[in-house]
């Protein structure tokens, strides 16, 4: 009954189209227009610099489509050859290389090359060459990394920009890849050690010294020069950068590594003891403390055994000489 009445009334409303109906329709349309206009936003012109910053923010959040759009817009707003355009291109190439899914490595490499070609001496040219090297080395799962290609790119970057942060980093990767490819070839390993020594002499302030000393220690370890390797590892620790922004760096792992190397590779009891004691002194609550005490006990027992053996040998040797 109610429904039929409503329908009749609705029909009446439609058929009669009274002034009251016009009013209602007018109000409804106005409301609709008002709502629609609320959805509109005023387009403001963004600067290329701001677009690039936003692009990197999107990159950090994993919103690669938005990042690409921002970098492309920044690129389109800037003139060819300018630093800002190069920054936009660098962001675009980085995003294409790292986005998931479907990274576009070839396109990224093309853009990095474009940056390097436009102005071969600029800062971003160095970073672009390094980035190409990294792309070749950090290949997707299922693809064999192009170590030789990466090595060549890193060598180019290191040779062209020897004192630039990107160039020094490229040298680090160059040595690392060379070490991986050298295997047990003693000549190649010795060559790498010489290259490293030369770099250290010419780059006394390089922030990569610590990592390079660590690679040098690996080279020497492969050459079975374990005391030499230990000495380079100690230098690596001494030259390591310390970040004040994060938690206080826990060096107990480094001390343990040095102690273990001294004990099991070099047979150097005193150096081993030195680093085990450093763990006890600087990290008294470290999880490895129990292991450290056992290690010191082990060293003491071995030293006692050796001394006893030597003491027994000495009188016999004296007797033999008489």
């Amino acid at each position: 009954m109610v429904g039929q009445g409503a329908l009749r009334r609705l029909d009446g409303w439609n058929m009669k189209a009274p002034r009251k109906g016009n009013w209602s329709r007018g109000i409804a349309w106005s409301l609709l227009l008002l709502l629609a206009s609320a959805a509109c936003t005023r387009q403001t012109r963004e600067s290329p610099g701001k677009l690039i910053d936003e692009g990197w923010d999107n990159f950090s959040l994993g919103e690669y489509a938005f990042a690409i759009a921002k970098f492309q817009k920044a690129r389109d707003l800037t003139a060819a050859g300018t630093e800002t355009r190069a920054q936009a291109l660098f962001g675009l190439a980085s995003t294409l290389a790292h986005r998931t899914p479907a990274p576009e490595m070839d396109q990224a490499e093309k853009i990095f090359n474009e940056i390097a070609r436009e102005d071969p001496d600029r800062d971003l040219a160095a970073w672009s060459l390094l980035s190409i090297g990294r792309l070749k080395q950090i290949a997707p799962v299922g693809t064999e990394p192009d170590y030789r290609g990466a090595l060549e790119c890193c060598r180019q970057a290191a040779d062209k920009f020897p004192f630039h942060p990107a160039g020094e980093e490229a040298f680090l990767h160059q040595i690392h890849i060379s070490l991986m490819l050298a295997g047990r070839d003693r000549n190649k390993l010795r060559g790498l050690v010489r290259d490293l020594e030369s770099f250290m002499a010419n780059h006394p302030r390089s922030p990569f010294r610590s990592s390079l000393y660590a690679l040098g220690a690996r080279c020497l370890g492969q050459l079975e020069d374990h005391p030499g390797a230990l000495a380079w590892l100690v230098k690596s620790f001494a030259t390591a950068e310390r970040s004040t922004a994060g938690p206080v760096a826990d060096q107990s792992g480094v001390y343990w590594k040095l102690a273990a190397m001294a004990e099991f590779k070099c047979g150097d009891l005193d150096t081993a003891r030195k680093y085990y004691h450093l763990i006890l002194k600087e990290y008294p609550s470290d999880q490895k403390k129990f292991g450290v005490l056992r290690a010191l006990e082990r060293l003491d027992q071995e030293e006692t055994r050796i001394r006893t053996e030597l003491a027994a040998v000495r009188p016999a040797a004296k007797e033999a000489r008489r």
């Binding site: 009954m1 109610v2 009445g5 910053d53 990197w56 990159f59 950090s60 959040l61 994993g62 962001g91 980085s94 290389a97 790292h98 970073w127 980035s131 990294r134 950090i138 997707p140 799962v141 942060p165 980093e169 680090l172 990767h173 690392h176 991986m180 922030p207 990569f208 990592s211 660590a214 690679l215 950068e241 310390r242 970040s243 922004a245 994060g246 938690p247 206080v248 792992g253 343990w256 590594k257 190397m261 099991f264 070099c266 047979g267 150097d268 009891l269 005193d270 609550s285 999880q287 403390k289 129990f290 292991g291 056992r294 290690a295 071995e302 030293e303 050796i306 001394r307 053996e309 030597l310």
Partner: protein
Amino acid sequence: MMRKAFESFWTYLPLAVIGIAYLASAAVVFIHGDREAPADVTVLRIAHWQLESGVRDGLNELAQDYARHRTAKGMPPVRIVQEAIPEGTYGTWVSTQLIGGTAPDILEIGKLPSNLLLAYLKRYFLPLTPYVARPNPYNMGTDLEGVPLKATFKDGMASAYRSEMQEYMWFALAQGSVRLFYNKRLLKRLTGLDQAPTDYRAFLSACERIARQKNARGLPYVPIAGSGVTFGIWDEQVFTPITYRAIEKADLNRDGYVGNDELFVVIKAGMIDFHFRPFAAKFKLIGEITKYFQPGFVGLSRDDSLFLFIQQRAMFFAGGTWDARGLVEQARGKFEVGVCDFPFPGKDDPDYGDVAVGPRYENPINCFPFGVTKMSRNSEAAVDFLLFLAGKQQNEKLNRIIGWRPGIKGAAVDPFLKAFEPRLFGVYGAMDVNLGGETYIKWSQLYSLFQVGQITYDELVAQFEPFYKERGLLDFQEVRRDWRRALIERERFIAGLRAAAMRAGSDGFGQAWVRYRQHATAQIDAENERMDQDELLAQASAAPLRTGPYEYSPALRALMKTNLRRSMRKQRRGE
């Protein structure tokens, strides 16, 4: 006309009811909202899932203290509104709130999918790094005055640091650890003991005496209230640390720990097998302890075991600091709750003395973590309130009311909770057989069957070891592929750090560059580790490994002798 009026009434009645209900709701919201949030008062919303007794009271009381403090200092007034959301729905609720932009100012961080947590943190939470190097202003007048905030936390804020973001993301306001709760009155009645024994043999003896007795209803007492969850606690605290000596054979990279990859290599190489003494000891220990759990414990929930304990049908219950207050209250008037450490065999134990070379180690963790959401319109006030809660005196009061251990150094601990002081010296586990994939499934199935006594350890080994060596290789290779995926993911993160460092300037120096380089060079360490593993696998395939990483070979002994002789000569010459 009457009929027409009647019809009109019925037609418009639903609309009228809706309209009245809407107006009434709007009125209630307006009036109530004004009462909750007068115009001149900043409202901070804080949400968490801790429905345990005391948490809401603690936060409410500290909120009032904070409001009074602000008034006393002439600061703009703040009202803290607490929202306690049930644990089971918290994750969904938080996700909805964050995505919808309506999240509270302060959120307890957790119950989110672990694979999405990082994305949530980046997108929705404010980094708190700028505050960690500064002293907490609320520690003025205490011995922590002037001490950088991160150094005032018991764990140094290590748990709050997300290395993937290089940021501190929360303040964790309490310290958690686990122990055994027990029924003091029942213990005295059934064993004559005033305190629970922590000596392993004495503990087993007490359990045996308890198991032989029945309650007034003729039901046997259960010495240890068991469940899947409590078994996990026992596993972590007692069963796994007994495997420590596996380090002597399996810590191939000599970093003090045994990774799942190292264990696989040494077993595949034939250096040890699953009958290796520390491993066999672990499973013997499991059998001896779970003998005193109730039947079918594997399928029971934590609440099932808790219920058994409260009903005084079970003597011991494994739980955490977060359980303490609730247990004491539930037991009030019925029995007194005691707390003791887990029994762990010592060096003089007749069965385990050769493997139990030390006490067990506990990793101290800070819990009860709170972060500030980016959508908070009062983020400064929100951070200030969290700093207030992290002040030594305030943290002490908060945790005293809740019944937990404070997360701030030097804050006084409730005497009842002193037994929860973490053990920071001892042995830890060295038997990680989890290679993921089918190997993990097989292990879980067999481990469960062992726990309920359906198979012996020998049967478990007979079924698992061949599978581990053969199928495990495939899963191990998949783990390595995962390593490569992680390398790619990290390279992406490094690209972001590089961009941030370039925007910060400083020509390659400054903290942004240091952060960048630490991650960039870590990629090299990761690849080197994999190269070392490849070499070990190759060696293992070629010939069995004979000498353990911490054993002296004859050649090494000869080298030590030479070095020592040289050193002795130098000493004799006075060098």
